[in-house]
Every structure is written in C-alpha cells, then in structure tokens.
C-alpha cells in the first residue's frame, strides 16, 4: 500500500492542489486511491462499479477542492464523496437508521457471536488469518454496518471522522460500530462457508 503523506505535508499538497497544481493532486490521488477503491469495491461488490466510483470520486474532488473547507481529514472527505457515488449505484439508503439499536439487541448479537459459548480460540485464529473469510463476513453485513467498519476498523479513521461520514452522532456511530463488530464476529465464527466473493474478483 502507498503510505499517505503525514498531516503537514498533506495539508500543503491539498493547498497546492486547490490552487491548480496538477502534480500535487496526482500525489494525493496516488496516496489515497487504494483506500477509495477498497471502500468502493467492498460496498458495491462489483469491480466495474468500484472503478467508476474511484474515477468519479477523484474527478469530483478535483473540481470541488478549491471550495473544500478542510474540515476533517482529506481521506475522510474523499470517502464521503465515494460514499455518495456508491449510493448512486447501489440505490440503498445508507445512513438511514435501521431499527432500534437497544441493549437487548447487543445481548442477542453477543450470544450469536459466541458470548458465553465454549472456547474456540484456535478455530477463530485460523479463520481470521484468511482474508477471504473476513471479506465474506464483511459482505454479509448491512451496508450501514459495513461502511462504519470499513472507515473505523479497516481504514483507521477516528471515531469523530467516522461519525461525521456516516451522518451520525458519535454515540450513535459507536452503537452501530459495536453491533457491526459483534455481527462480524458471529459471521467469522461461522467461517464464511456459504458466503460469496465479490463479483469479478
């Protein structure tokens, strides 16, 4: 993976790119295209659609950069653009609350994930070693759950940035993230035996 530049260097690149410096924008694209493509592929599960999202995201960013107020991280801003591009393609209402996220649900999800069940650490360790098992489990989550996991746990965005991207308050995002993680644990434990891989992958 191409490492993103550090914060100070990136801010300077963003400022230059906003003034029309094509080389600065290319450097930013190089540093962040992997994150945008991964997110698009995991949300659309279609390589052609993911490539479209990638291109549209950077073309939109190029046009919009002079007006960007630099609130939050540049990668977060790109992922917000990518999210809107994904939405246009999957036609899902990502961001809409999905039912009551209450304490009972967490308990039920915990039981499903093996809370209170016998030890199976070795089997679990083998499963998380396999990328395909994680990908399959991720693919089986609802869109709104998958996106917070991708932003927070895969891309490593802060809780605040993830909440902003998801259009949620921080507590609501944390609740969704916790539920998504519990569901993922349950799915990984099932081992993805009957899962499917992304199309064209």
């Amino acid at each position: 993976m191409l490492a993103p530049p550090d914060g100070q260097e990136e801010r300077a690149q963003v400022a230059r790119a906003a003034q029309g410096d094509a080389r600065a924008f290319t450097a930013l694209a190089l540093a962040h295209r992997g994150a945008v493509y991964r997110f698009a592929l995991r949300m659309t599960r279609d390589q052609a659609a993911a490539e479209d999202v990638l291109q549209e995201t950077f073309l939109t960013a190029l046009r919009s950069l002079p007006g960007w107020r630099a609130e939050g991280e540049f990668r977060g801003w790109l992922l917000a653009i990518a999210r809107s591009q994904v939405l246009r393609r999957v036609r899902r209402r990502v961001g809409e609350p999905q039912g009551f996220e209450g304490l009972d649900s967490v308990e039920a999800l915990g039981v499903e994930a093996g809370w209170g069940a016998p030890l199976e650490a070795e089997a679990l360790r083998e499963r998380v070693e396999r990328r395909a098992t994680l990908e399959t489990a991720l693919a089986r989550l609802d869109d709104v759950e998958r996106e917070v996991l991708l932003w927070r746990d895969v891309e490593g965005l802060s809780g605040e940035e993830t909440a902003r991207l998801a259009g949620l308050t921080l507590p609501a995002m944390k609740s969704r993230l916790h539920r998504a993680r519990l569901k993922l644990v349950a799915l990984v434990k099932k081992g993805g035996r009957d899962g499917e891989e992304p199309r064209g992958g």
Binding site: L54, L62, A113, G116, L124
Partner: protein, 84 residues
Amino acid sequence: MARNRVVGELSCFEVLARLSDYLDGELDEAARRQVEVHLQGCEECTRFGGEFGEVVAALRQRLGGEADVPEAVARRLEDALRGQ
C-alpha cells in the same frame, strides 16, 4: 443462554456492552478499571473479549494494508485525471 454474573461492579452484559469502547481506549479511567476488574474475575468475558479483539484487529491487519489498486485501474484513473 450466556451467563450474566456480576464480578466487581459490572455484570457480564455490561462488559459486553462496553467492549468496543474498552478496545478503542474510549472509556475513562474509572470505567476502564471496572471492566478490567470484571475481566480478571470472569473467564468467559476474558475469552470472548479476546476473540472480539482478535477479529477487530484482523480487519486492520488483513484488509487495511493490502495492495494498491490494480495497475489497469490506476492507469485509467491517471488518464481520466489528465483529461481534466
């Protein structure tokens, strides 16, 4: 059905509900200590917490650091940007 014991000041369920915040380092000192006291006295929660943390860590380690975009995709992106 999972057991729900009170160890220290927290029940197993209260620990389950706080696992993500604990893992992310987002509990204050007192809350973090409450969770740790429970974990020290509850084998089941320690085991489940370990599994939970292992899966979350694997997301970053296995999926976050993978290769850049495919070469052909990168080339088409560069062409699209050059065309602007």
